[in-house]
Symmetry: C2
Subunit: 210 residues, 2 copies
DNA sequence: GAACCAATGTGAATAAGGGCACAACGTTGG
DNA sequence: CCAACGTTGTGCCCTTATTCACATTGGTTC
């Protein structure tokens, strides 16, 4: 079933399942049913079974899913049984905060390059030992350090230009924190993180729901 | 049409449209067609027209939408023609970064309270002038300062407990940065921001797409 | 003021996604 | 070894979302 078209929503949920399963693992839960897992993830049990069924049969009928096993299966599905090298572009507030954050490494995402235009920042050493490069050296450094994913944390105005440079350097995956819709060729996959949209959504619910 | 059930996806898109329209406004674009706006937002033109049609008729046939006007209409729809008071809980890496960030105020979201448990942080004055309160005072301060939305930026382990306190204090909207699924009553609306899910999604695409 | 133009608003068609309900099938207990 | 149990995997249906296509209508031109 590996070649059916998988809904994007399924991929997102798999990530959530994995996170929850990893927690369960730490609590020494060995086996879990779709029903209990569903409750903990806030979804429908059939949804979980169907999501997993796209990729194979991982459960045991009458019993449930072996937690440790399922974590590994999902990792395999998502391409997480390896590490990914990231490049951060823009070391302001949020860029530095992300690099300082330890959670990414724990999940196999490793910052191996960092760029900025600010002369004050270029050459500085970051807490993780990385030295900041000038954005002019982006293509060269990215190829050299085998970076797979670019993270954009520059002001909105610079985002498109940075994206162009990343693509020129052969990057096919971008995580974009700038609040603009960046345009990329089909070969490149962009995910946007925009807190303001989430806040707007809350505001809408508060205004109408009451 | 104000009372039809509106898809959540529509609300999210409205927020994107608004952001784009505000940019256009700064470039002195007065009128725009659904087709041009669609291209800039990366969606289908009919989608835009239908999204807007849920709430009224804002365009002019044969011409398009008046940009400044439409921004105001969308603000009205989303409940953004007013300000919202936010409380930040957890002033670590990301919490401080968010408070320092000016973009929220620009969109009408104002931090009016901040909480932490760390004695080193309680009592400190933040760049925006706010003094950090201890989380034990949460309910009292939140009611006093008329906070509408709570932002959780604590470690994952504390998130559920913080959410409970927020709800007890009468909060009905939560923006959650901790990578856990928090459980809340129906009256409360939660939006999660989880970068790792987005990264996992990129990893999946890079692994399979090639 | 009539005829043309251009882009909206919308009903109908299509596509996608989610959930129910049950048959299939390991497991466990007798 | 067989029967009773419990949970998976999945066909089918229903609901929701997106796209198409065109009639509608305000603006513009002559
Ligand atoms: N900080 C937040 O909490 C937050 C929240 C939501 C959205 N964002 C978005 O994230 C982005 C960054 O926000 P921030 O608060 O970190 O901003 P910031 O101003 O603190 O940092 C931006 C950094 O990008 C660098 N930069 C500018 N142009 C560049 C270029 N062409 N190439 C490389 N680096 C460049 C600057 O030198 C600076 O170091 C913005 O688009 C912002 O809207 C931030
Ligand atoms: N920083 C990032 O880039 C980033 C990225 C993704 C996710 N996150 C998530 O955001 C959350 C915060 O991350 P961080 O890097 O800012 O962590 P951090 O450790 O820097 O900050 C956490 C803060 O929360 C405070 N805190 C702990 N328990 C509390 C409680 N019960 N009530 C109030 N405050 C409490 C701590 O004193 C500390 O100041 C974490 O859940 C993390 O997984 C952060």
């Amino acid at each position: 079933m590996k070649f059916a078209k998988i809904p994007m929503a399924t991929i997102n949920r798999l990530s959530v399942y994995m996170r929850t399963l990893q927690e369960l693992l730490e609590e020494d839960v060995e086996v879990i049913s779709s029903e209990r897992l569903a409750k903990q993830c806030g979804v429908n049990p059939a949804q979980i079974r169907k999501d997993l069924a796209y990729f194979g049969e991982f459960g045991v009928r009458g019993v449930g899913y072996h937690v440790a096993d399922l974590v590994n299966q999902i990792k395999e599905i998502l391409g997480l049984s390896r590490t990914w090298n990231l490049a951060m572009v823009g070391l302001g507030n949020i860029g530095s905060s992300l690099i300082r954050h330890g959670n990414f490494v724990k999940h196999g995402y490793i910052f191996t390059a960092a760029f900025d235009v600010d002369p004050q920042k270029v050459g500085k050493k970051l807490p993780n030992g990385l030295v900041v490069n000038h954005v002019d050296e982006l293509e060269e450094v990215i190829r050299e350090r085998d970076v797979h994913i670019g993270v954009i944390a520059t002001p909105a105005g610079a985002a498109q230009s940075v994206a162009n440079q990343l693509i020129l350097a052969g990057i096919n995956g971008i995580l974009n924190f700038a609040p603009v819709q960046i345009q990329v060729p089909d070969c490149c996959h962009v995910e946007n993180v925009d807190f303001t949209i989430k806040l707007d959504c809350i505001a809408y619910h508060l205004s109408t729901g009451v």
